[in-house]
Amino acid sequence: MMEPQEIARLLEQGLNDARVHVDGDGHHFQALIVTPAFEGLSLIQRHRMVNEVLEAHLDSGVLHAISMRTLTPEQYDAERT
């Protein structure tokens, strides 16, 4: 069983200036990831970047259980206004 905070910590360490929030019940996780590193990248490039960080630490079963949203800081701010 994996804690959401553990996944958040991996992402914060692996991505530049990332703000990360992960919810989950230990089996399924939802991650919100906000970082300027996503600027200029397509969704698939962003997800690949996140997967690479996680693949190094997690087995594929856990990786499959994570759904994610990947935003730049500008996109995140725009959503909140």
């Binding site: 969704l43 698939i44 997800h47 690949r48 997967n51 693949e55 990786l63 499959h64 759904s67 949203r69």
Partner: protein, 107 residues
Amino acid sequence: MADIQDTIREQVENNDIILYMKGTPQFPQCGFSMRAAQALSGCGREFAYVNVLDDQDVREGIKQFGNWPTIPQLYINGELVGGCDIIMEMYESGELQKAVDGAGQEA
């Protein structure tokens, strides 16, 4: 495994829109595949699909082919668009409709 990569490449090249999924659009066998197929159906165009549960080689081979760890995987115009999260996000933003409308019209 070289053969299966060739088979997948052919499928992807011969179909403008193709979804690799678990189950079928009529009878999906995984929630992620179900949502992806529904979103794609909502764009109002026919699409090809491959049920990876029918063939273990495809099920493993597609992950290598797309360099993508999960299923479903959507390909449009021969390129990987993404998995379930990306498909849903693009569906909600209208980008998926645009991509589907542009399928078959090579730039």
